[in-house]
């Protein structure tokens, strides 16, 4: 039983690391602001959820596990909201005639 939980936990951790890595690559490689926000919020939400669930499985039913659950709940509220706020203000800025395209450097 313990071994099964350990394997699931490592699948979650490695999967989360992979999602964050893909999100990071996307953040650099995608062509414009909105696709980049998509990549960043993917890493922010999906990757963080997987990593924290993996850690929770490692911690088990301890105080650390409860704290991780609280952090996960907090992240589930904040990171989609942050992505929304960024995209929304980019649209507003575009409507106001500001240039939101990525400077190529």
């Amino acid at each position: 039983m313990e071994q099964v939980i350990d394997i699931i936990s490592w699948i979650c951790l490695l999967g989360g690391a992979l999602v964050v890595l893909i999100g990071g690559i996307g953040l650099v490689r995608f062509p414009d602001l909105f696709t980049r926000i998509h990549a960043a919020s993917l890493a922010d939400s999906g990757g963080a959820i997987l990593v924290i669930v993996g850690c929770m499985l490692q911690a088990g039913l301890t105080l650390a596990g409860v704290k991780l659950a609280a952090i996960l709940l907090f992240l589930l509220f904040t990171s989609p909201t942050a992505g929304y706020a960024l995209a929304h203000s980019a649209i507003t800025a575009k409507d106001d005639g500001l240039d939101v395209d990525i400077e190529s450097d």
Partner: protein
């Protein structure tokens, strides 16, 4: 494993520091200093300095970044390119770096328990804290009781920061009711609802950090910053005018002074009761109980002063442009 992590953190810090120097865009520079502070906080945590890590994350990465953004909003987003003479500066920096690097050769290895710094007063603190003060967190015992003098000084430094900002920018003037058009982000429903949900939780966490400081990482400085961050979030969501009507900056500044006064007042009370300045043992019949009482009171004073100073500075920056 932890060595690899430390090396990664330190390398990233060097990269971020170089990027801060290199960029001309001040908005990017402010964000990079926030990232730098987060890396520093993680580094402190690796070194088992949880209290300092909490402070660095809350102050350096959180509130300081907001202050930078407020200052940028009042000025320009781009750095003026000045004529730069590299030669002399490079020579000075390079020679200092060589001296410092030579100095580190003599240093004891990181984490060496027999290093002089760990043999000076630290063993005494570790040995005497359970007996004299009886709190699990030695950092709080050192900060609030053994070295209460220094912390009193720090609180007055924080208060001086608020006085400095206020004397430069002045108290923000409130717009009268009819032309208070600035309602912040309250027309954005998603942000408003999520903010409403999170602000009480953040304040609750701040109170936990405040009153749990004797037992775990935390204390007045961290708690004050966290509570101030929640109230800054409120001001961003509901508009500065509304936030200032509910918590007038003059009242906030008065609360900051009250916080410092509580701390100094505890010191004065111990003097009047016949003890030394900030020797809390005289506050109660039982010296250990007196220490607990004194630490709780001065931590409350610190939290009040820090939260009020942060909010005063924020409102001084944010209310300036509406004049």
């Amino acid at each position: 494993m932890i060595i690899v992590f430390s090396l990664f953190l330190l390398t990233m810090m060097v990269v971020v520091a170089l990027a801060v120097v290199e960029t001309r865009n001040l908005f990017a520079a402010a964000m990079l200093t926030g990232i730098f502070s987060f890396l520093m906080a993680a580094n402190f945590f690796v070194l088992d300095a949880a209290d300092v890590a909490l402070t660095e994350a809350a102050v350096g990465a959180g509130v300081a970044t907001v202050f930078f953004l407020g200052a940028i909003a009042l000025s320009s987003e781009h750095e003026h390119s000045a004529s730069r003479k590299f030669g002399l500066a490079l020579l000075a920096v390079a020679s200092t770096a060589v001296v410092i690097l030579l100095g580190t050769m003599e240093f004891p290895i990181l984490g060496d328990g027999s290093a002089p710094v760990h043999q000076h007063v630290a063993p005494w603190y570790l040995e005497k804290t359970p007996e004299l003060i009886h709190v699990p967190n030695v950092v709080t015992a050192v900060l609030a009781s053994f070295r209460g003098y220094d912390t009193l000084g720090e609180v007055f430094v924080v208060l001086t920061a608020a006085i400095g900002v206020l004397s430069l920018l002045g108290f923000p003037r409130n717009n009268s009711e009819e032309n208070a058009v600035n309602d912040g982000l309250s027309h954005q429903k998603i942000l408003h609802i999520v903010g409403k949900l999170l602000i009480p939780l953040i304040i609750l966490f701040g109170l936990y950090v405040q009153f749990h400081g004797d037992f775990g990482p935390g204390g007045g400085f961290q708690a004050g910053t966290i509570i101030a961050a929640a109230l800054i979030l409120y001001a961003l969501l509901s508009g500065g005018d509304r936030a200032r009507r509910q918590m007038p900056p003059r009242l906030l500044f008065g609360m900051a002074c009250l916080g410092a006064f509580i701390y100094a007042g505890v010191g004065g009370t111990t003097l009047l009761l016949g003890g030394n300045l900030l020797d809390y043992s005289v506050l109660s019949h039982d010296p250990v109980h007196g220490q607990h009482l004194g630490i709780m009171l001065i931590e409350f004073g610190v939290g009040l002063a820090v939260a009020s100073v942060m909010l005063t500075i924020y409102h001084a920056f944010a209310g300036h442009e509406h004049r």
